[in-house]
Symmetry: C2
Subunit: 415 residues, 2 copies
Amino acid sequence: MFRQTLFRRAASLFVEARAELPSACAAPSPCRRLYSIQAQEDSIAKLPGIDASKLSIAKSTTPKKLVSPQELVFGRTFTDHMLSIEWTASEGWLPPRITPYQNLSLDPATCVFHYAFECFEGMKAYKNSQGQIRLFRPDKNMARFNKSSARIALPTFEPQPLIDLISQFASMEARFIPDMRGYSLYLRPTMIGTQRTLGVGPPGSALLYVIACPVGPYYPTGFKAVSLEATDYAVRAWPGGVGDKKLGANYAPCIVPQLEAAKRGFHQNLWLFGEEEYVTEVGTMNFFVAIKDKETGKKELLTAPLDGTILEGVTRDSILELARERLVPEGWVISEKKFTMQDLASAADEGRLIEAFGAGTAAVVSPVRKISWKGRMVECGLREDQEAGEIAGKMKAWIEAIQYGDEDHRWSYKI
Amino acid sequence: MFRQTLFRRAASLFVEARAELPSACAAPSPCRRLYSIQAQEDSIAKLPGIDASKLSIAKSTTPKKLVSPQELVFGRTFTDHMLSIEWTASEGWLPPRITPYQNLSLDPATCVFHYAFECFEGMKAYKNSQGQIRLFRPDKNMARFNKSSARIALPTFEPQPLIDLISQFASMEARFIPDMRGYSLYLRPTMIGTQRTLGVGPPGSALLYVIACPVGPYYPTGFKAVSLEATDYAVRAWPGGVGDKKLGANYAPCIVPQLEAAKRGFHQNLWLFGEEEYVTEVGTMNFFVAIKDKETGKKELLTAPLDGTILEGVTRDSILELARERLVPEGWVISEKKFTMQDLASAADEGRLIEAFGAGTAAVVSPVRKISWKGRMVECGLREDQEAGEIAGKMKAWIEAIQYGDEDHRWSYKI
């Protein structure tokens, strides 16, 4: 009773709009669903999960004209349909729907507009020359999507039904996927809070939707190495923060620093952290560097560890696993550990910096030519006529071979 | 040329969807509008600003029934109309519109849903018994709104035209404002990015809108002191981050810690920062504490300084100014400086902690009874039968007297 009273006072005094929350979120244990990942015995687990068998499909009667592959711009041209699944705290996940691609109609008080109740994923469907469509490690995207949503009090879900639904959706949109190497269908699962009140509290309703856009190769004419500005005046992520989750909240604050870097002629920010100037991420990608160890002379592939400030990239994980399998036998050391901008600069000065690259779903890898840091330029191992190092090239080839099904691999998910 | 080439490569390689950005955002100085606050000579300043004289009004033909004052819930009941102003990077601010309150219809790829391009303000319109309506320091809200929007690459604006428009809007909705002490019309200016692409870049279009809801007194039956959980496992804000701006991004990540605190019987989080455990804010409010100095015995009113991790609260600023004017003559010392949870605990142990309270637009002040910290309870100076300290009570009375016009004051803005 004590707790219940206290929580009711919290609701009325601070949170203010809880009154509209469904009873599933009532005191004394507010919104048990948050902990459904850990606690499956939880009563909320009895609410309906995502049920792929209940999918309804309303086909578009005005199919779009295909954009020619050469004219595709990332994130601009969408397919005919979208997948939507509503959730409410009292009813759980409602039946999934595939409908014509259409606007969302939302009350201006909806919490996604005010408090950034939003998270997303980025994944791709690949078509090979025989027309076979594949996803790449969709289980990793679903796991991260659940972690992101739970962190901002949005609902979680069983991964497989959503993978099944995304597969059906991608199959329906197959005509939009060019069957050429480098092309794919970018899939954007998104979850938003849809509660229509201004009180700051856990959303009592949400919408999960997936939209899709055909995309061309990141490097249509081959790799192009980029230059970075080491950024310390703006800090992307912090221990105890949410920088390891794929939340909308992590993106808008990075745009002004990105524009500042562009103004000075750099493609992206290299996010440093702390007085030590630890190297964390580049733009919206994870960051890898290959160096020769000062003492042993051994070649080492390095990336920052998952300490809560680094996005858990699917490409990052794939590169690490492939490197451990295929580079270690060649004598490489593979490390997830903290390293500083000074470490990079010293390695460059001493001729030990072999190469550096970003890693993410969009580009697979993005080679780095140089980094501006404290008034100097740190060269990252590329010759002037060279746009990518050996490891970046190998990783791109290895991962794309799996993505397009040249190599039969457990990461490739046939739909 | 060098920069232009580089930026174009940045656009195509990383930012990906810049192609849709209007030409105002082209290289080599992307989106000058960002800096329009500092640089009025900027070319972008020539784009149309907000023009209150161009307001069009479409009145609702289905006026809502008033909710009885006793049944008002914060942020749940809205008025008949809303104010909207669209912006595009090529056209600037378009003519303002007051329309019936209605849903927003947005493409599912709109950047507000993916990257949290959103910021807001919270302010109130007060009606006295003669029917006169007043705002409270709207210039402060406008200044902060501009800082928030600029930080996430959304457009800025001249404050006065928006204050005029908000005044007109509030006047139109006058029937919704109860003319009783403690009641008011909560106004929620909101700005969202509306560009319809998935590329991560500055939005080429935005929507500023204002909605309004009548609200009752925060403490209908008098003050109710709250209890807090000192929170270190989750970090609200950090140096180089955006915790001092009123961005949506700062809110969703705080809900799970809030639910965790509620589960243990506490109303809100007291956000600590760093190994030193500096006291920063409480829930979504600034935090004040009154202590007796150990050496001098002087009474001191303390709050954390605006070091980039603290929201620049209008109520915080008002309390500081009133305290300097009215408490200093009584022998008080007023300080904006860092203090730690240990400082508070020591003051409590030594009988020097006089009182503590949160401060924000919703409650004006919210007295604090106790703080749970490292397995102990820090009592904040209230007797068991007491719900507010002297300073909290005085501040609430002083500020409300200005808000409702009992006292003629430059902070009160008659509309």
